[in-house]
Symmetry: D2
């Protein structure tokens, strides 16, 4: 596995810098015969696209994806799919200051430490712009899932912005697409809107929590021990810019639970299907899916590009202040939702193919009750 | 990367089941010429060993590691190191009931779904017994670190049991080794002791939080984008039994922080070294180490093997109750501390070797101040 | 993929040195539910075992394999299979001279260059003893093939010793098991026997050619572009000690062929099966199996451990002569036959699992002719 | 390692089809700070480019490479380098017949077996056009070698066309670049020219032998056991279209050698350098470089696209004849020379980085002779 690829049988590699000519994704190992159109990928890219509303960065990118290989007559051929996105609105002038200063909270200093040289324009490779390539590839992963495990539904949403969590009692799937925050709780979305506008006005930014639910995942998916489904999801999530935690199911909440509370009782329903009385486990036991909803949750730090001055040094070692005047996201977690969904789709598709390889098609172990 | 190996240049593979004849670890890619003795590995294994005090399981295993290859005349040869641990106290009789029932919170059901058949004795491959092999390999990883980055110190400790967190103001490194809980806060260790005994008496178990700190990590370690240091740590941690979350630095705490609070100001100290005013980032920016302490935190669910009855079904689909009468851990997080340390050591050693391969020996970019 | 493992979904790792306590093979990614007994693996190991006749080395090893994990109640569980072989007849006294001198044609000098230190006893890791572990793993691979592609038959044999090739017109499969050389040509086996005894008497050794044929391989196996079936076979073969060439089908013979002679005409036989008029391709086109016999051929150099003095230097740089007085193989290619078979079985099983993962069960595209 | 990537630390992935919009290469793991210009890569591409003389295909492609990422201010940044080549002279009309018929000796049938559907235009992914991407990446690999092991020189040449081998006594390095066949023997190049024109006239094609020599490879390179330098080279070579054998050093010639003839005597020369009396081994012992010239030789089958009718069937299963009227190569081995060089450069660079990762900078174990 190379350092710029992720996945085992279905392998995503991305390439490109924020202000280079283009970015792209190569997806290798895709099953043949899957219908793929650029418009299908564009659908997901448009959800991540910057400049769509006042709550996200004003950088304007078309983010138009072109498929250069691996698809013929509208179907995958089993060869690598190259998805290219040209960079358009690069405005290099906004970023010249970065050349001379290390921005606190950014990767400027660490790339300099590691590589000695770096493409400083817009953060180069460390820019969240790279995530557009993931979203395109995630579109292909969804098409694969649709083909081999059509029961799977992947849904991402915000559960908290700053100190304002949603109220789980108000959770409504239909609400998620109706607001620019992927907020499933209608009662809080206005407060979030006001709060983000306040944050933007003071030139600051705010953290958030994103959750992704994969329902309909067949039981038996995941490869213990070192490719456990939860481990694969954790690795995938933690590669997304600004992510500082990954939780599965109850996550950090298990610390204060007793064993008698935490384990999910098992029962059989009338048609022979196995069900559970609760889902503390987040749909994964021993690294393998249980058939319940797979629940992954990530904390996303507030963007470090803000108008409020931060102390730093120049590349000459001279003390300085950093104020980022360019375009930024007051709550970068909003645009992370489609990215997180894409990574879940990719990890699931990869593990489904591995399962099929090692074990064969998914078996149904439901009990038939007479 | 196979499904039972982890790492890229320094690759750990483990094998073996809880009640098979033996378990073991194969470590491949180790640099030659590193001094390794079985006693060095035994030192770390003894920390994890069960049956040492009343707060952990009473299974008694010598956990004596034998090195079968890769070490000659007391030094590594650069070939695979095989570390074997015979299983001794297997007591199969305790576990016969598992054969017929799916234990809630365990991997019984999911292994059955995935593989069709399973080694049900003591959880087979899904048992935490496998983690002994990791600890042995972690001992080698520490020796590698000592050789190529001797500044690194890896320290694990408990920060919370149930609803009782430590008080960070009382944090004392010297306290950690003085109590059976790896508790760095002398003021709470007695309460923890009482609480765990209470939990044991009622036949229940409790969750906990473990933190690992790696200090002295040179800046520049980690391989963006898909082998970021935080992603590698997240994957490694999430493969440990019972882990339900991984946090880096402030972790879930970043959700309620503003950008102006969260990013760590950079400054130069007199000798030309770069320092930071805070460490919200947990020592990692853009997937690369900053030179600050690397902080990883994991939530560990309460053990599911308890004396309190849980509802389940048999492998015939008949409703039943499960009570685990065997030996168990009231707070399994205690024994997870040495395992978590081992996984951090392995991930760091792997990334250091990758760095050396791609870029060469660690460079010092400190500024010289006249 | 680590440097001591081979394979992608079905991954073999070996460990151990010639004169360490043991050697072993770890096979990861095996499908569950496959019947495996130690006696099945022993069957193949006994074919490779030294000391069986006067044509091979007199080192006596029981080569008794023990399965330590991954098999339960006689069936694979889908977890790593550890196969351990204790070293018994180590006779370290034979090899003390190696410590001080670099043996020409051996890996002594290159290991010293690479690692600085080395386990010099019997060649350490570079000894052909390691191939016993491959043969054990090959036994599991054969059982996997029997389960998922039972039409496959893998047969290895010698086609040339020194300047004495077999006559292809006399080729008789039934002859192969009847002589200690795996010779398929009854008319030459006596000459080989005499020749090898002559070589042994003068303390020299001789090269040989081994061919492996896999018949019944379903069409469609192999993963273009960089895991082509021929590339996978070439890599696997070239890891065997003393192998200096790998040919597929006509191999080096294609150099003097015209395109009109070399390509195999395609035709349909009555039952709708696709057949070919010849098999210059060795059963592989574009890296994918055609359904014809897969033919792999390897040249094996004469063993370098001989009684005839060779010039070298000591580890102090002093000119010296090397005479290897220990036990050796006059024609080491004889014992390479079971090893080559094992590597073909492993490569095919791996590619069959990958095929199933990416594409699903093997499809039958035969034409039905009314 | 994905099925369309090769390498371990330095990983090449290629993508694209013969008649899609573009092909490309992604090179990941490149050290930072290496000078790379498009013109450097173009230099090597121009050597492979079709349509340059009457001995190769008349397809005209500019084969102009564009670097889209990973290089900034003329130097590598350590991030993935994307090299894109647009397809220009695609002439789809030449290839419509392929849609309905399986061409003997081509991958048409096997891709159909494997994938069910295929991009039939010009062979799609199985076309030798893909090798242009390898040559571009090979240019970067050469720059890496120049940086970390500047002693290395990689030289490819033809040693045989049809039944006409070169005479090794006439071998002259300076001759290689002076003729369109990379022929090192001035006495035979005219005969080759005539012979190829004859072959072209009768609409046939002819096989050939290509050898690559890497001189100046430091001793100690290669990763036993399953990433031996010879195994890595064998795998890399066998992925090149039309290659049917790989030999190291004496290759198939070792079959008729005795041990006393085959092993290369070792001696010390005045300055303390270790030398050998011969190079039967091809510069590799135990999978590790000896410091001598590394010699790899490949047999390349005659192109299957010829004007002479071959028997086949249609995709409906109807018997038919195939005559390929498009442009073709009478001796495709000519254009394979730059491709083989590129693959050797990539394999060596990868193993050098792995060596540095596991062991550190190359050590000099020469003896100092007073």
């Amino acid at each position: 596995m190379s350092i710029n690829t992720i996945g085992r049988l279905l392998k995503l590699g991305t390439w490109g810098e924020s202000h280079g000519p283009a970015i792209g994704a190569t997806l290798d190992g895709c099953p043949p015969g899957i219908e793929i159109k650029e418009s299908m990928l564009q659908h997901w890219l448009d959800r991540r696209k910057p400049g769509q509303n006042k709550y996200t960065t004003q950088r304007r990118e078309e983010d138009k994806v072109e498929i250069l290989s691996g698809v013929f007559d509208g179907k995958t051929t089993g060869t690598p799919i190259q998805m290219l996105i040209w960079n358009k609105d690069q405005r290099s002038r906004d970023y010249t200051e970065i050349r001379e200063k290390f921005r606190p909270g950014h990767a400027d200093l660490t790339y300099w430490h590691k590589y000695g040289n770096r493409d400083y324009r817009g953060g180069g490779r460390s820019s969240a712009r790279e995530t557009a390539a993931r979203v395109a590839a995630g579109g292909v992963a969804r098409a694969i899932l649709q083909d081999i495990a059509p029961s799977i539904r992947i849904t991402g949403y915000m559960t908290q912005i700053g100190e304002m969590p949603i109220n789980r009692k108000n959770f409504d799937d239909k609400e998620i697409e109706k607001n620019p925050f992927w907020c499933p709780d209608a009662s809080i979305k206005e407060k979030w809107a006001d709060y983000i506008m306040d944050i933007r006005k003071i030139g600051d930014s705010i953290g958030s929590m994103v959750e992704v639910r994969a329902s309909g995942v067949p039981p038996g998916i995941g490869s213990p021990l070192y490719a456990k489904l939860d481990s694969e999801l954790a690795a995938a999530m933690m590669t997304i810019n600004a992510v500082k935690s990954v939780e599965i199911g109850d996550g950090v909440g298990v610390v204060s639970l007793k064993g008698s509370e935490n384990s999910d009782d098992i029962r059989l329903v009338e048609n022979g299907t196995i069900e559970f009385d609760s889902n503390h486990s987040g749909g994964i036991l021993g690294g393998i899916s249980t058939g319940q909803d797979v629940i992954v949750r990530i904390a996303i730090k507030p963007a470090s590009s803000i108008l409020i001055p931060k102390k730093s040094i120049t590349i000459e070692g001279v003390p300085t202040e950093v104020v980022t005047k360019g375009r930024h996201d007051p709550c970068v977690g909003i645009r992370a939702v489609p990215v997180a969904e894409a990574m879940v789709a990719l990890a699931l598709a990869d593990q489904l193919l591995i399962h099929r390889g090692q074990i064969g098609e998914i078996r149904d172990y439901s009990f038939t009750v007479d």
